[in-house]
């Protein structure tokens, strides 16, 4: 049909993995992973440890190199060859939050947030401060701007890490098991910040153990197993898993 030719290309995915393969020596951890994430979509990746879910996430912003396949992220192409300049350009559009926060211990909360905008985007000190205040307010920590990371609880540190990523105004945010290192009573504050981000339309990919969060917040959930995408679905997938592997995984997580 000729009408299809004139259709606007709105559905261009924000992130697209095509047959991504990755090995550490003889150990193949990603055996051809493909999935798309649309702009504004929230995708959760679940799976047992060793399933390759964190590795897949880290490939998206180039922290891990890939041996085959390709990744498209917001117009940046990640193949098997990568130059430093291309990687830096990519990473300005993709934020990541780690399990272990990785805040810079020698800098205040505000300096943690302003460092990259000042150094990478070369914005002025005053503008950077304003930006930091806005980002910290978004995670509810405006009053902690002058504290040092060690003076904060784990949940607060993780929220600062989110603010630090937001300050680069990324188009996609990656979350790598961000609540796994937290005491159970501190996970809620971090998950609430993430939910708010999702509602505000941020494109998010989150590797998580929080099944409740995946079911409630994610538009789609990807279940990974043995370096492959095993099952993909919406919230209904948790109630009615199609594969026995997902069923037993969900059983063990409860």
């Amino acid at each position: 049909m000729s009408a299809a030719v004139n259709a606007p290309a709105v559905a261009l995915p924000a992130v697209a993995l095509k047959d991504v393969r990755k090995s550490y020596g003889p150990l193949e951890v990603l055996k051809g992973v493909s999935f798309d994430v649309a702009p504004g979509e929230v995708v959760a990746i679940i799976g047992a440890s060793g399933s390759g879910k964190s590795t897949a996430l880290r490939c998206i912003n180039g922290l891990e190199s890939i041996q085959a396949g390709s990744i498209e992220v917001c117009g940046h192409h990640v193949g098997t060859q990568r130059s430093d300049a291309e990687l830096r350009a990519l990473r300005q559009d993709v934020g990541i939050v780690f399990q272990s926060y990785n805040l810079f211990p020698h800098l205040t909360v505000e300096q943690n947030v302003t460092l990259a905008p000042r150094r990478v985007k070369r914005i002025g000190n005053a503008a950077a401060k304003d930006l930091a205040r806005a980002c910290l307010a978004q995670v509810g920590l405006a009053e902690k701007a002058d504290s040092y990371p060690e003076q904060l609880s784990g949940g607060q540190q993780q929220r600062v890490a989110i603010a630090r990523s937001l300050a680069m105004q990324p188009k996609v945010m990656l979350f790598d098991e961000v609540t796994s290192a937290l005491d159970p009573h501190l996970t809620g504050e971090v998950l609430r910040v993430m939910e708010k981000l999702a509602r505000d339309g941020m494109t998010m990919i989150t590797v998580t153990h929080e099944m409740g969060f995946a079911r409630r917040v994610a538009n789609r959930t990807i279940f990974m197993r043995d370096g492959l995408v095993w099952e993909v679905g919406g919230a209904e997938m948790f109630a009615a898993p199609r594969t026995p592997e997902l069923q037993s995984f969900l059983g063990s997580e409860l």
Binding site: L63, D84, A89, R91, N102, L103, H106, A116, V120, S165
Partner: protein, 227 residues
């Protein structure tokens, strides 16, 4: 056996002692600044990807650390002189001190850099920061803050070893004392007198480093704890 101490004769020479102490301070200042700069570069090179460079730096550091400063200064000063290059004694002393202290600095700073968690570097990379920025803001600054006491201790030790430069007639404090005792024949008194001068210089140095530390490491100033 009685010995009559006579410190009074030394009083006439106080301008000489002062001048000597000033030269010692100049030597120390120059060696600290350049030693720190070269030591930092060596620490970066020793951890870098270029194997030959890391190796060359390793050899340099081991040679300096396993030979006496006196031999190093003789080798440099008399050696270059025999090759036709007569360095002024002050310059020769500064160069020898810089080479010496840079090797120790590089080891200390490298140990500090090793304490920076790889996750810190990943986080910085993920924010799109370039390698030089990462080195400066994320690796070196916390590394130097962590090893600052060891570094400053090394610089104080180096100030004390600058006395060895008297052996190539650099007119620093010990060389001045040598001259004074040859005029006065009051050898014991002369050297007893410069010991407290060195103590005062060491105290001055420690005080300056403390002040610089307050200025350079706001986290330490605010929280009062080591990083």
């Amino acid at each position: 056996m009685r010995y009559d101490f006579d410190f009074a004769v030394l009083l006439d020479y106080w301008p000489d002692f002062l001048a000597g102490a000033w030269v010692t301070l100049q030597l120390t200042f120059l060696a600290t600044v350049f030693g720190m700069a070269i030591g930092t570069l060596c620490a970066i090179g020793a951890r870098g990807k270029r194997r030959w460079l890391a190796r060359a730096i390793g050899i340099y550091v081991e040679i300096i650390r396993n030979t006496p400063f006196l031999i190093q200064i003789f080798f440099l000063y008399f050696g270059l002189a025999s090759a036709g290059l007569r360095l002024p004694v002050f310059t020769a002393a500064v160069i020898a001190m810089v080479f010496n202290v840079a090797a120790y600095c590089s080891e200390i700073i490298r140990a500090g850099m090793d304490t920076v968690h790889p996750g810190q570097i990943e986080a910085a990379q993920s924010l799109g920061m370039s390698t030089p920025t990462i080195y400066w803001d994320v690796i070196l600054r916390p590394a130097i803050e962590r090893v600052y006491p060891a570094l400053t201790g090394q610089f104080v030790l180096m100030m004390l070893s600058s006395s060895v430069a008297s052996q190539i007639s650099t007119e620093e404090l010990t060389a001045v004392a040598n001259n004074v005792q040859s005029f006065t024949f009051r050898s014991l008194e002369t050297f007893l007198a410069i010991a407290p001068m060195y103590l005062a210089l060491a105290a001055l140095l420690k005080l300056s480093f403390w002040g610089i530390g307050l200025f350079a490491f706001p986290r330490r100033r605010r929280l009062g704890t080591a990083l």
